[in-house]
């Protein structure tokens, strides 16, 4: 167990709660709208961008944001037009962003794994500042407001994009809104878990919640809760074992997902329903 200054601990805890909430929330839309390829590529774009920021001594948040949005802007239309399969996109973009990130990191003035480079790679709670807390709180409020007001359309598009369009909903702006928000959330979560693992925060809680429940209104609440819980547990584990916090969070959330798959109440309930119907 390592003991850190109270301020650092407080900020770490707040960051865990807020990023867990945000990634858990946006993850549901990313997964259900089949945007995982874009989310995945964007996450690693943010990583490459943050690396560039460190290398040229610019604000890594700004460069990460630029890279994430550039990746999304390129991939969105290309995927639409060329009908590229999601696997193809991620297979091409992931190594590209990694290659860029590693080049940027070796360009950093003090070559090697300086603490700044390490932060970008797997996150660090020590680097969290009070300003980061302000950003995260603002982002949380904005995201919740947007989701609240756009819920109806997002819900219909998640169900079926084509049918939503047939009913007179303009799907594209809402999909771009989700991509944009996911990009911002990923960028502001980078400091906690680092660029190599950030995607897991977007994907794991949503996948876990979808495994467990069959009502979208409950899923959209449970997924952020899972995100918050796994983040806090991961933080505690990392403090006890003195391991990188990002890795511990991902391990905890992977174990959570695995347990839920094994328990698979969805499958069990399905069987119960079927026997009920047979008995009728």
């Amino acid at each position: 167990m390592i003991w850190l200054e109270l301020g650092i601990m407080q900020r770490a805890l707040i960051a865990c709660v807020l990023t867990g909430f945000l990634t858990g929330l946006m993850g549901v839309f990313v997964v259900r709208m089949r945007l995982t390829a874009i989310g995945y590529s964007m996450s690693h774009g943010a990583f490459a961008g943050a690396s560039l920021g460190v290398a040229i001594s610019a604000n890594p948040l700004v460069t990460a944001m630029l890279f994430a949005s550039t990746t999304a802007l390129f991939i969105g239309p290309i995927a639409d037009k060329a009908r590229l399969h999601a696997d193809t996109i991620t297979s091409i973009i992931f190594p590209l962003n990694m290659a860029l990130a590693f080049i940027f990191l070796t360009l950093t003035p003090e070559i090697g794994l300086t603490s700044q480079v390490a932060n970008v790679l797997w996150g660090s709670i020590i680097s969290l500042t009070n300003t980061d807390m302000v950003y995260l709180v603002t982002l949380c409020a904005a995201t919740m407001a947007i989701v609240h007001f756009a819920w109806k359309e997002l819900f219909a598009i998640m169900f079926n994009r084509k049918q939503a369009e047939a009913d007179g909903i303009n799907a594209k702006p809402f999909i771009y809104l989700v991509i944009f928000l996911a990009g911002v959330v990923v960028t502001f979560s980078l400091k906690l878990v680092g660029g190599l693992l950030i995607y897991a925060l977007l994907f794991n809680p949503a996948a876990s919640a979808l495994q467990l429940l069959e009502d979208m209104r409950k899923i959209i609440i449970l997924s952020p809760l899972i995100g918050v819980t796994t983040n806090i547990v991961g933080l505690i584990v990392s403090l006890f074992l003195d391991l990188p916090v990002g890795s511990c969070i991902v391990l905890v959330s992977t174990v959570t997902f695995a347990i839920l798959v094994l328990l698979s109440p969805k499958k069990r309930r399905k069987m119960e329903n079927e026997t009920l119907e047979v008995n009728h």
């Binding site: 109806k152 049918q163 369009e165 047939a166 007179g168 069959e214 899923i219 969805k266």
Partner: protein, 242 residues
Amino acid sequence: MISSKIAIKLEGVSTVYEGERRPAIRDINLTVEKNELVYVLGPNASGKTTLLETINGLLPIFHGKISVFGLDITTQGRRARCEIGYVPQDFMVEPGEPYTAFDVVMMGRYSKIGVLNKPDKRDHEQVAETMKLLEIENLARRPMGKLSGGQQQKVMIARALAKEPKILLFDEPFSNLDPESRENIPLLINTFHKEKEMTTLIVTHDLQGMLENCGRVVVINNGRVMVNDTPDKALEQWRSLS
């Protein structure tokens, strides 16, 4: 004004799917007047689904022009689609999808409710009432994916009717229904068409469930309109064709 009597107008319309050379429908000229009920018949792969999805602008037009209540579908498609209830062919949802039947029917009303607004009491009543008419009110809280094909088909019909659109487009809406519903639901559509003055286009490849107050039958084959006439005359020609 003469144009106000016209609900749907297609002028020389051809649709080519991306990556294909041959148009799936070609040179279609078709006018549907307000309040008409038109059947579209044709063998498999003749272009019936393509015709419907071209009319509501889900597929880009390669050639020609379509207007729906005077709205050009290529430039004002979204506005036009707010007035169209569309029941797609063979729409099936996987088990475990987290949406209830009630949710799905309510989605039909979203464009009426408008961006930033939430469904109100009247929307809930309308959805409940429509589900009752289709005898699926007891399924309202069930997940859509756990319903049978016929039940899901009724949910999609309810979604289109609950929207209270000016135009209804049905793509083989009776294909998965049980025999009893195959009789009842066409009658229900009949009532909606008459009482709520909805212009209705029904695609089918068989003649089961033919409605008595169908004004006109269009037969398409190989992407072209072969027959466009009163039911009696159209069926005569349809039989001699097949």
